[in-house]
């Protein structure tokens, strides 16, 4: 049993190498399927400030709305369904709920409502669901998924009534809820915003100039000088501002920059955080690509998108859980020749990224 101590929790890393010019490039689907994005972090080498179009793209992420103490049966409200769920894409996530302790709820743009419930709540709700994939011995967590756009869930239908009764009278679930809508924004959500306490959250943008940054070189995607794991370790160290010097006097970090390496005199790290829509993330990637169509200053850029640790889903409707960590993220290394390296990572209680 002692050998187990040397192992860390299981995690999955899926790496994809392709080009934006390639006909069958799947980047768009992979980005769009990652519904709930908490933070986008962009690393631009040899850059003091973001070029204006890129800066504009970073500052134009859609706002999200935080509703306080929203009773969950309101997500079945007919006006809300008409304005938000049936039109465009709605993104909703329960706020400050823990996927391994509490009830968590997600509303996907496909119209699916995902409820991650513990056993007591599930049994009292009375709607059919499946045990969580990550249950240990006894079934302590259940996932109920209903498609609100399906004909069986049309208002007045049997499925609809059953869920509504369950949420209204049998369990009265209530939670703070983060909501966003594309392309309607706040307008599409006014059915709920008008009746509950809400605040608007504009995504926060922050930037930091890093100097004398060791960096693996050359960073191209067709001849990677280092393997994905080492690259991600280095990128993670840069993002977390952990030193890669591995000085003998320091006991905090033994991380090193992969060889061969060069030192960048400066690099810009820009971060956006909030409930970020995948459409906005993809728009940012397109803008990055356009930056190279004109001039070729830097040869690469790295974009890391972090998901929510407590979201019930990671990519698509794949179940997401939290054992020791709730990571579900992807890192994109975009090169000036439009080729890229995409690394998607998830944790122990997760399915495989697409």
């Amino acid at each position: 049993n002692m050998e187990n101590l040397q192992q860390t929790s299981r995690n999955l890393l899926v790496c994809d190498q392709s080009s934006l010019r390639h006909r069958k490039c799947r980047l768009s689907q992979q980005v769009q399927q990652h519904h709930f994005n908490h933070q986008v972090s962009l690393l631009l080498p040899e850059c003091g400030s973001a070029p204006p179009p890129l800066d504009a793209a970073l500052r134009s992420f859609s706002s999200s709305y935080l509703l306080r103490k929203l009773p969950l049966h309101e997500l079945l409200d007919t006006h809300f369904l008409q304005d938000a769920v049936y039109q465009g894409s709605v993104y909703g996530l329960s706020y400050r709920s823990r996927i391994d302790e509490d009830t968590c709820v997600a509303l996907l743009p496909s119209g699916q409502l995902v409820l991650s419930l513990d056993k007591d709540v599930y049994e009292r709700l009375g709607v059919e669901g499946k045990p969580s994939r990550f249950n240990q011995r006894a079934n302590s967590r259940y996932v109920v998924t209903v498609n609100l756009t399906d004909s069986s869930m049309a208002p007045g239908g049997r499925g609809y009534q059953r869920l509504l009764t369950g949420l209204k009278s049998r369990v009265q679930l209530q939670t703070d809820f983060l909501l966003s809508h594309h392309p309607g924004g706040g307008e599409a959500l006014k059915a709920l915003l008008s009746r509950y306490d809400w605040t608007e959250h504009r995504p926060q943008v922050s930037s930091r100039l890093l100097t004398n940054l060791p960096c693996p070189t050359p960073l191209t995607s067709d001849l990677p000088s280092c393997d994905p794991h080492s690259f991600l370790e280095w990128l993670g160290a840069v993002e977390a501002e952990v030193s890669c010097d591995n000085e003998s006097t320091s006991f905090l970090s033994t991380l090193v920059c992969p060889e061969p390496r060069a030192v960048l005199s400066r690099a810009l790290r820009v971060r956006v955080s909030g409930l970020l829509l995948p459409q906005d993330v993809y728009r940012l990637i397109e803008e990055l690509r356009r930056c190279w169509d004109g001039r070729g200053t830097a040869s690469w850029a790295a974009l890391t998108v972090q998901g929510f640790a407590d979201s019930p889903v990671s990519w698509g409707s794949r179940e997401h859980g939290f054992l020791k960590g709730g990571e579900n993220f992807y890192s994109l290394l975009l090169c000036s020749d439009h080729s890229y390296w995409l690394c998607m990572g998830t944790g122990a209680h997760d399915g495989c990224p697409p």
Binding site: R68, R96, D102, Q136, R137, K324, G325, N328
Partner: protein
């Protein structure tokens, strides 16, 4: 998984220490704790079974659990340390005022009896010295089948390196017989500095030989089933009334204000909770603060 619990907080004479112990437990993310009253009967003189102090007298205010909107729940537990059943009556009615009943057997005979027949919820495993007996599969499986749990305390391992060795050795020994099932990890803490966060204790479980999933259960779901077992036993014993000779009114005296029902059954409304600390931070690893690194709660997004 269910909420995190620490079922062994040791009260000292100082009320303020107990209050800060509770505050720290809530801050670390434990949603329920049990105040453990220890009773060591000897054959020499007749001792009184301690009565639990009502929660409202012990604590000015029940703190809110970090990141949630509910206050921490406090249960009462009695631990009997004995080597012989003749030192106490296993189904004394005084036991009913506690939510949880634990026994710490120091002899093989009592261990066997406790596993197979006693009306207890938790069986404590010695961690401060060499095991007085070996764990045999039969009583351990019997206990597991009856829904009893085995408890391992971690605070002695923090206090001293010799007890740390005994803790690990005894834990490994236990886990060989029970295969990781029905084990809870609790503190046994008397001071706030001795408490550790639930994820850290789940990691400690790995040292004892638990798998990752089992170790996390040992601080959450298994504790919950021990509490439910306690509630069930109380309900059953309320029906089978004590004989009149023990000078108690038939039926249960009212439980201490921390009603076990409250903890055992899910409340009808389950608000997913709110206050400031930003849990959406995707940085893996440190989800909840440990004692040593206070983290400022992130300001709520503008």
């Amino acid at each position: 998984m269910s909420v995190f619990m620490d079922l062994n907080l040791r009260p000292t004479a100082e009320r303020s220490t107990l209050q800060s112990l509770l505050d720290t437990a809530a801050h670390l993310g434990y949603s329920a704790v049990a105040i453990n009253y220890v009773f060591e009967p000897t054959s020499k003189k007749k001792q009184e079974i301690p009565k639990p102090t009502p929660t409202s007298e012990l604590f000015d205010k029940l703190p809110t659990v970090q990141g949630r909107s509910r206050p921490i729940r406090v249960l009462n537990r009695l631990t009997i340390v004995a080597s012989d059943a003749s030192h106490f009556r296993p189904s004394a009615p005084e036991f009913r005022s506690f939510d949880l009943l634990a026994i710490h057997p120091t002899s093989e005979k009592l261990f066997h009896a406790a596993c197979m027949t006693f009306d207890v919820d938790i069986i404590c495993v010695t961690v401060t010295e060499k095991l007085p007996f070996f764990f045999k599969r039969a009583p351990v499986s019997g206990a597991v089948e009856r829904g009893l749990v085995f408890e391992l305390c971690y605070v002695p391992a923090i206090r001293d390196s010799t007890t740390r060795r005994y803790t690990i050795a005894n834990a490994v020994c236990l886990l060989e017989s029970c295969k990781g099932r029905n084990v809870i990890l609790s503190s046994g803490a008397e001071k706030p500095l001795e408490l550790r966060g639930p994820y850290d204790i789940a990691n400690l479980g790995l040292l004892f030989g638990l798998s990752e999933g089992d170790a996390k259960e040992a601080v959450s779901s298994t504790c919950r089933s021990a509490v439910l077992h306690g509630v069930h036993t109380l309900q059953v014993s309320a029906d089978t009334r004590a004989p009149a000779s023990c000078c108690q009114k038939p039926g249960r005296p009212p439980a201490a204000p921390s009603t076990p029902r409250d903890c055992a059954q899910a409340p009808p409304t389950r608000p997913a909770q709110t206050p400031p600390t930003s849990r959406k931070s995707p940085i893996p690893g440190q989800r909840l603060q440990t004692n040593l690194q206070p983290r400022e709660p992130d300001p709520p997004p503008q």
